[in-house]
Amino acid sequence: MKPAPFDYRRPGSLPEALEALAGEPNAKVLAGGQSLVPLLSMRLAAPAMLVDINGVPGLADLEVTDAGVRVGALARHADVLASADVRRVQPLVPEALAHVAHATIRNRGTTVGSIVHADAAAEMPVVLSLVGGSVEVASVRGTRTIAAEDLYVGPLETSLAHDEIATSAFFPALPTGAGVAFDEIARRHGDYALCGVGAVVDGDSVRVGYVSVADVPTVVDLSGVPLEEMGEAALAHLDPTDDIHATSAYRAQLVRVLTERVVRSATDRSRGITEESQA
């Protein structure tokens, strides 16, 4: 399975990269490549040009402040996952990242890349939504910020223009007193989830994000809903489908089970209850 031919640019600066993208309507950005390269090898995609941004300086930065975590376009999942600072400021990010594929894929794959790939079966797109994050994008026309709620417009589709590159993603810090949790159920360790759930509990506010049970990354506000009814309430906003791995009824069951499990866990954490403190 070999890719079809493509033109290749390896810009040494961001402006060079943006010029290259602007000049070719059928160009794609190559960062981590863990999602893109298999598509090319299987000839499911055949862009005329790849703009390899791996040589562009300044894109790998991880900037952690009290406001939140800014992840540069070339920050690998593994580096974000390993950062104690990220964990301290926004623990939902590493908790979800641990479920992304396998360690080897995380060594090369980028968190920003995953976000703009906008796969509803991936963890990071919905995590961005869940924490109210945003992406910074650049083009030859300048830069702009896209809030997560305006980012995902369809299955595997974002509101980025074809010649825009996401240069970073911003995950706001977890507010004090809030708790987060993430869990997913997959067929094998490291597989795409049959159903994944992330939750942010902040006082009475309960927001829950879902993986693999809608066609776009979907966050549901379940504030005020009794815990045992949350899964059912969420299902009204979701669309679990049948495929060769699971029926929609089974996925719906996982929504119910995981919603309760994850929200309970996030709630416990918001109250400062940890597994250790319960022992």
Binding site: F6, Y8, R10, G33, V37, P38, S41, T104, N107
Partner: protein, 167 residues
């Protein structure tokens, strides 16, 4: 229309190689066919099986998911680079031989590189961490039991611990 060729310097196992390849040449193919380092194997070309795993700047990476042109300015280690300069087996390789951690040998290079990096990062893994270290590599022959033993044995060999040789 002739395909454009790119001059690429690949540093593999400490040696710089200059090759001319099309942009679409996968790193796995460049290692195997342009550099004739056939120890890295291709099992699926979609990043799932791990047979093609090499170290890029010391980190396990699927060479079937990278283009050779992208691998400039990196240091690549393949299975061939794990053998000691005098030709004897490195500790991870040695552990596999002692523990019968391979049968057909096709997936093995991917495990060896992965474990080499894993033990560098965590030289004293728990049993669970040993299993975790190899959780992204497929093997169809061994059923993994002896590979896990090999990880533990490799850690012991590297530590110089006098652990009994496996029965």
């Amino acid at each position: 229309m002739t395909e454009e060729l790119h001059d690429v310097r690949l540093t593999v196992n400490g040696v710089a190689h200059d090759v001319r390849v099309p942009a679409r040449r996968l790193l796995s193919d460049a290692l195997r066919h342009d550099l004739e380092l056939t120890g890295t194997h291709v099992g699926c070309e979609h990043g799932v099986c791990g047979a093609c795993t090499v170290l890029v700047d010391g980190r396990p990476t699927r060479s079937c998911l990278m283009f050779a042109v992208s691998a400039v300015d990196t240091e690549i280690t393949t299975v061939e680079g794990l053998t000691k300069p005098d030709g004897s087996l490195g500790p991870v390789q040695q552990a596999f031989a002692e523990c019968h951690g391979l049968q057909c040998g096709f997936c093995t290079p991917g495990f060896l590189t992965t474990i080499t990096a894993g033990l560098r990062e965590n030289p004293t893994p728990t049993h669970e961490e040993c299993r975790d270290m190899i959780a992204g590599n497929l093997c169809r022959c061994t059923g993994y039991q002896n590979i896990v033993k090999a990880v533990e044995r490799a850690a012991a060999l590297q530590q110089g611990t006098s652990v009994e040789e496996p029965a």
